[in-house]
């Protein structure tokens, strides 16, 4: 298999892993956790690196996961004091942990190549270069093996604990009452999110990880109101943005991470604008239709209650709509439906118009 193809596969795997993870973060209103974890894992990575002196050791990922959990624990402790709430506590803790990581890296690791630049940007283009070997044979790129493992863990966890996760996220009180230990489950889940984050950001960089964890699930949230369906839509959007972003990167001859993140954002934007039901355009259309109906009804009400048989246009226009255009449109719809008849003296209502008015008022 070619290097390009491997890189693409790794990008797609990373996107799927992040999009799946993110669904639960978005529905629990914990999106910022993704951003915080991607920074707070740094001290964990450094500690494991100092102990094992090996950048590829799986202990780095485990230690990073623990570092993430440490952050979650500190945040919860701070929140419990009631002095600082919600996102503020998160902001304080993750930036502090990240800074500690940076200081350690600057003090202790000057002699080794530990590229903090890589933590932000990732290096998808190079991810496929490092091989994973068993008994001297190169099986597949190291990053591929890592991402497949993480995907397996994630799918396994979600499949086994789907019911419990859902209940914990929606109604942790009932979950507690039933004895499902929501606090433990939440911690376990966030541990897995930490592991996912740290595995993914070595490949994709923290910005892309956050983009892929939030944009596809947020898009899916606009398109469905079912958790199970959300998982599929989110993954599909993750795959679409990673494949198209990858080729866009190739075509522009730039690193693919930027285009992938931008496309994930673009898909979200398009869904916000043009999505069915909740989309801006759909809402705008709905409101316009409702308003047009209102003006037609107002027109008929005014004509119906008029003492004279004909109401002059200039009086009617002032009574039923906000602009001249709206008035003329309402007039033309009513004319086409034969609800009104017109003459030089003005406008009058027909029997058909009266019937329609009575019907529509009854419906309302």
């Amino acid at each position: 298999m070619t290097l390009v193809l491997w890189t693409l596969i790794i990008a797609v795997l990373t996107a799927v892993v992040c999009s799946l993870c993110g669904v639960f973060l978005v529905v629990k209103h914990e999106s910022m956790i993704a951003e915080a974890l991607s920074h707070a894992v740094l001290p964990g990575i450094l500690v494991a690196f100092l102990i094992f002196q090996d950048r590829t050791s799986p202990w780095l990922i485990i230690s990073a996961g623990l570092s993430g959990l440490l952050m979650v624990w500190i945040v919860q402790t701070i929140r419990r004091t009631g002095l600082v709430d919600g996102d503020a506590a998160l902001g304080i803790v993750f930036s502090a942990l990240f800074s500690i990581g940076i200081i350690c890296a600057n003090l202790g690791l000057n002699h080794v190549h530990f590229d903090s630049h890589c933590i932000i940007d990732g290096n998808l283009s190079l991810a496929a270069l490092r091989p994973f070997t068993i008994g001297g044979n190169e099986i597949a790129p190291h990053a591929f093996v890592v991402m497949v493992t993480v995907l397996g863990l994630l799918l396994g966890f979600i499949t086994v604990f789907y019911k419990e996760l859902k209940l914990m996220m929606f109604d942790s009180a009932l979950s507690q009452t039933f004895g499902f230990r929501p606090a433990m489950l939440h911690l376990g889940w966030l541990g897995l999110v930490s592991v996912t984050t740290v595995s993914a950001f070595e490949i994709a960089g923290s910005i892309l990880v956050v983009a892929l964890m939030i944009a596809p699930p947020a898009t899916a949230f606009l398109l469905t109101r079912r958790l199970g369906v959300m998982l599929f839509i989110s993954s599909a959007i993750g795959i679409t943005s990673s494949v198209s972003g990858f080729y866009l990167g190739l075509w522009l001859d730039i690193a693919p991470t930027g285009p992938i993140a931008s496309l994930a954002g673009l898909i979200f934007l398009l869904t916000v604008c043009f999505g069915p039901g909740q989309g801006v355009l759909a809402k705008w259309r709905r409101r316009n239709t409702q308003r047009a109906h209102l003006f037609q009804q107002l027109l008929l009400v005014r004509l119906n209650s008029a003492s004279e048989a004909r109401v002059p246009n200039e009086i009617l226009a002032g009574a039923v709509a906000w602009t001249d255009r709206q008035y003329r449109k309402a007039l033309s719809v009513c004319r086409n439906q034969n609800w009104i008849n017109e003459s030089s003296a003005g406008v009058g209502i027909t029997d058909l118009g009266r019937e329609h008015l009575i019907d529509s008022l009854e419906q309302a």
Binding site: R80, T81, L174, F178
Partner: protein, 277 residues
Amino acid sequence: MPDSPAAITIKGLTVAYDSVPVLWNVDLAIEQGVMMGVVGPNGAGKSTLLKAVLGVVPKLAGDVEVLGKRFNANRQQIGYVPQRTSVDWDFPTTVLDLVKMGTYGRLGWFRRPGAKEKSDSLAALDRFEMRDFAQRQIGELSGGQQQRAFLARAYVQNAPIYFLDEPFAAVDATTEKAIIRLLKDLRDEGKTIVVVHHDLTTITDYFDAITLVNKKIIASGPIATAFTSQLLDQTYGGPIKNCGIECGFQRAPMQLSHPTCSNVSQSPTAPGEVDDA
């Protein structure tokens, strides 16, 4: 039923947030088959009382028995309808899925709800006239429908005891009456209903028994003995004057002006008015 145990027995329950006790040395027994209102000022620990029984907030001290057994052995026996404001109505779940959650307890770890759970849930939705809304997302329901959906969830749990935390907050008067009707039906089937309630004017219409709470239990028992103006004064920490219960609590204007009653949802002076806040 002299031999049957009390629905809920609480002994020496103390709950604290940080170091501030919210409930102090509470002893309480709730008989089976009653409809009980839990009343007290804001911050008196009414919701905390329910949550402590359910094990949702940690107990500092005390024991809770449900139908004569420790709570851990009888945890499926209480169906809980949370405060509407504490529910995430945007959560991606349908009404049917919500009701199915009531079956999770008896399924235990790992087992998924199947055909049996689905038909049970649909039957529960029928019971509360919510079948037509089964596939709606929960946020698309009206206030009354939301309460009925949660009642269906408690019902499918087969719980003999129902806890409702302020079910009438921000629902209109008609809806409130409809929900009370449903609760009284459940009570007539032998269920025990415990409701955190705010509106003192409706106590005598709605409940058989009442528990007055303010950090501790001021009184608990049938309306006739526990719902007296003297005990209410004690509970609300001040005089609720001119409200002689027997001559009609409804006419007591004090209730609105009293600082602890600021969120009474229905004005006693305008009974027909609908609060659509």
